[in-house]
């Protein structure tokens, strides 16, 4: 079991943060474009989800959205179960505590805070389903 990567988007599709841990393949396109594609895909998925059941895919995409439009997207392998509490923790104890509540961190753009990046990294690595050996 392992964690591949994580995206944090706001309601305007700005990618606030991206981290990867074990990603087997790179996308072959610039990061900025990948963020846009990921967001565009999420946007489309949202309209499908209400009408039909999700497609079976080779990784699991875990999705958490707040009423303010903050979206946490974590991709893992298939062995990982529901992790709503993990995504909520990333939102409330990391993003809200370290970014939103810091008046010197501007909103609506990529998070520059090194503290946020390192705390998020430590948290993900500490998760029971995170393994240093991928797959």
């Amino acid at each position: 079991m392992t964690v591949h990567n994580l995206y944090l988007f706001d309601r305007n599709g700005v990618c606030l943060h991206y981290s990867e841990w074990h990603r087997k393949k790179q996308a072959g396109i610039p990061k900025e474009e990948e963020y846009k594609l990921m967001y565009g895909m999420l946007f489309s998925i949202r309209s499908f989800v209400s009408k039909m059941s999700p497609l079976d895919i080779r990784y699991k995409l875990h999705y958490y959205e707040t009423p303010t439009g903050i979206k946490v997207v974590m991709n893992t392998d298939l062995g990982v179960g529901p992790i709503r509490d993990v995504l909520h923790h990333i939102y409330s104890a990391l993003y809200v505590e370290l970014v939103v509540k810091n008046p010197l961190c501007p909103l609506g753009q990529t998070v520059q805070s090194e503290l946020f990046r390192s705390r998020l990294d430590s948290y993900v690595r500490s998760l029971p389903f995170f393994s240093a050996r991928a797959g």
Binding site: R11, N12, Y39, G40, F43, G69, S92, A93, V96, V100
Partner: protein, 178 residues
Amino acid sequence: MSRQANRGTESKKMSSELFTLTYGALVTQLCKDYENDEDVNKQLDKMGFNIGVRLIEDFLARSNVGRCHDFRETADVIAKVAFKMYLGITPSITNWSPAGDEFSLILENNPLVDFVELPDNHSSLIYSNLLCGVLRGALEMMAVEAKFVQDTLKGDGVTEIRMRFIRRIEDNLPAGEE
């Protein structure tokens, strides 16, 4: 740069005098900086808005409230959960418009105005206008109007904030993707 460990969902206790005096110092300084009441009112609203857009995230992180289905639910959450959490008061909700798009929040007491009396030369100052800005900012997912229609500082019996729903603001695609 280190931070103390996450304190979980409890509120830190703080002296209410410190809060009231801090707010008073803010308004006083704005009055000195801007010289006329209308500009001060605008600044208070703007500052409140900037507070509101962040406050809503803290609120969601701590309260586990989900998306509201209609404006009535929004009103309930504002009065019974949010005001309680941040100001320790529970305003009552009254005067719904027939269309259900406007209501009033009645505040029996307003912690911002403890010890405050408006002097004669500031008769158009909306002292607590920060609150209106906070409400607008916190409801950033919709366009709302918030304004004081009664104010104990101006001799009214209660403080009344009128809230009006304008429209929902949908999530946006990144610029250039349309």
